[in-house]
């Protein structure tokens, strides 16, 4: 019995060691990013690398926000992301309700069509969509970034699956009370779907905030750049001011970090939901 206990303890220690090493591997780049963002150039190009900036240069952030235009990019990202999230929530919820609760001819065929298109990679549709943007004259505008993004087969799918699990008794009670379909949606189904809506909004936020390829294609006007595009100017690290670059990176990462800290459980749930059922 004593041998068992030692074995158990050794196992635990080994696991902790591994956990810590891996945490360093996963977390160090973030620390490095913050560290460089707060440094002066004179402390950036040194060997061995210096971790704690001395002095701490908050000015980098101000410079990034103003001179390097990250303030503008931030506002653009914020506008596009918030609009996209609301748009996705509403259109997906409406459509999901229609698929999950209403009966009409062609419903299931249509739904299957939605699912089928989820298989097609975005690279196939991005070219015609680009041409469409030119045709609508939406290039270099918020519209190009928001409107195509509002329609998500994935969001519709996820909400529909959730709504199917809502007990029908609630529907029946509402209908007995004389509710119309609209009221059924707005007063019963939509509020009950809050957990699924929260999960969708979290993924929606991240997708919109981090979106890169599409904005790269449709926006060439610098005043309309979103954060990822603004950062991409620094690509290849052909840059004179690393600290500014890292400060800009921190600015772009902070909202996501805040959202991640506060909504962590929705992330985990959302990912698992898709998977175990296959």
């Amino acid at each position: 019995m004593m041998r068992n206990n030692t074995f158990e303890m050794l196992k635990k220690i080994l696991i902790y060691i591994l956990l810590i090493i891996l945490a360093i591997i996963m977390g160090l780049p973030f620390l490095w990013m913050f560290s460089t963002a707060l440094k002066d150039p004179s402390q950036t190009f040194v060997i061995p690398p210096q971790w704690i900036p001395n002095p701490i240069k908050f000015q980098n952030f101000i410079d990034a926000w103003q001179e390097a235009n990250f303030g503008t990019y931030f506002v653009n990202s914020a506008i596009v992301t918030i609009a996209t999230v609301f748009g996705q929530l509403l259109t997906s919820a409406f459509a999901a309700f229609s698929f999950a609760r209403l009966k009409y001819k062609g419903r299931d065929v249509l739904f299957f069509g939605y699912l089928a298109t989820m298989m097609i990679p975005g690279q196939v549709t991005m070219i015609p969509n680009f041409i469409l943007m030119r045709y609508f004259n939406w290039i270099d505008s918020y519209k190009a970034l928001i409107i195509p993004a509002i329609f998500t087969a994935y969001g519709t799918f996820m909400l529909r699956q959730f709504m199917l699990t809502i007990p029908r008794e609630l529907d029946e009670a509402a209908i007995i009370d004389g509710a119309s379909k609209w009221q059924l949606f707005w007063r019963v189904i939509f509020p009950i779907s809050k957990p699924a809506l929260a999960t969708l909004s979290v993924f929606s936020f991240i997708g919109a905030w981090n979106s890169f390829l599409w904005p790269l294609i449709v926006i060439s006007d610098e005043t309309k750049f979103t954060l990822p595009i603004g950062l991409s100017i620094f690509k290849g690290n052909m840059v004179s001011n690393y600290n500014l670059m890292m400060a800009g990176t921190v600015i772009s990462v902070i909202p996501i970090l805040i959202m991640y800290c506060t909504m962590q459980k929705y992330f985990m749930k959302g990912i698992a939901v898709g998977a175990v059922k296959g």
Partner: protein, 299 residues
């Protein structure tokens, strides 16, 4: 009274009304573009001059004559071969460690998932800095073991590996969550019974955990394959396709063909070839799953 719509008609209209906004968007930005893309692939068009119908010429050119296209296919294949097993193994390790449910695991899980939510652009910039040959963290760390500096991103031999490492680092947390979910579905009794039979932790892992995880592993495999073939952001930001085009991938090729050279026909054709690759690979994976995936019936 005859004006009153039948119940069926009313239901139909209500259903359509709810779905209309979503459906219109779906039509304009998904369905029609898919069809348009197919049509485009049979055309030669630079957006300025009128389009010209060329039939299957774009496809023939890509498959038969275009060295660059085959090169990017090879690069993407190499990248996938690095990333797919790498991600699965690394995520599995993370999941196993977290599944021990030691105190403080929540903190570790938080850290492991951080790279997943961070934008690939931001990640690329930080890692490019880490990979810096003279001042980067990695070479500095390796020099402590006597390893000479490696030009990670500018050496054609290491560039793709360097990018693959970042990709694994970014995606591991996501798959880790999936594996954890899968592990939580494995009944305790199996482990207990094995323990009574004298099985140690390794035996338990290989005889119980891994086989029971095969459905999850299958899902991770399919999703990782689909994603790895579509890689773009990382490559664009870290190497731009270089050095010597050694990291140029299919989507980089599509992007350049369509939005730098404005060769819409070729770009669309290559996008469809990409789809075909992904589709066939996924199909193969589904067909082969019977040989190794075990679906456990909880009865």
């Amino acid at each position: 009274m005859k004006k009153m719509l039948s119940k069926e008609m009313r239901n139909f209209l209500t259903g359509i009304l709810f779905i209309l906004p979503n459906f219109i968007g779906f039509l304009i930005f998904t369905l029609i573009p898919v069809i348009a893309s197919l049509v485009l692939s049979f055309l030669k068009w630079d957006l300025i001059n009128p389009p010209e119908f060329v039939g299957l010429n774009n496809f023939f050119y890509l498959i038969k004559e275009d060295q660059a296209f085959w090169a990017v296919l090879k690069n993407t294949g190499y990248y996938s071969l690095l990333v797919i097993p790498g991600t699965i193994i690394f995520s599995l390790i993370l999941a196993v460690l977290l599944n021990a449910k030691l105190k403080g695991s929540v903190v570790f899980r938080f850290i492991y998932f951080l790279p997943v939510v961070t934008s690939t652009v931001a990640v690329s910039l930080v890692w490019s800095w880490i990979y810096n040959p003279s001042f980067g963290l990695l070479n500095n760390f390796l020099s402590k073991f006597g390893v000479p500096p490696v030009a990670w991103l500018s050496d054609p031999r290491t560039a793709m590996v360097a990018i693959a490492i970042v990709s694994i680092w970014t995606g591991a947390g996501n798959n880790m969550v999936l594996f954890l979910s899968g592990m939580q579905g494995i009944p305790e009794q199996l482990y207990e019974a094995a323990g009574l039979d004298g099985a140690g932790p390794f035996r338990k892992f290989f005889s119980i955990t891994l086989p029971m995880l095969t459905p999850t592993t299958f899902f991770v495999l399919v999703m990782t394959t689909i994603n790895s073939f579509q890689v773009f952001d990382l490559v664009y930001m870290m190497t731009g396709g270089g050095p010597n085009n050694s990291t140029r991938t299919i989507v980089s090729y599509i992007y350049e063909t369509g939005f730098e050279f404005f060769n819409m026909g070729n770009a669309s054709a290559s996008a469809w070839i990409l789809f075909a690759f992904i589709f066939i690979l996924t199909l193969i994976q589904f067909k082969v799953q019977n040989k190794w995936v075990q679906y456990y019936d909880a009865s």
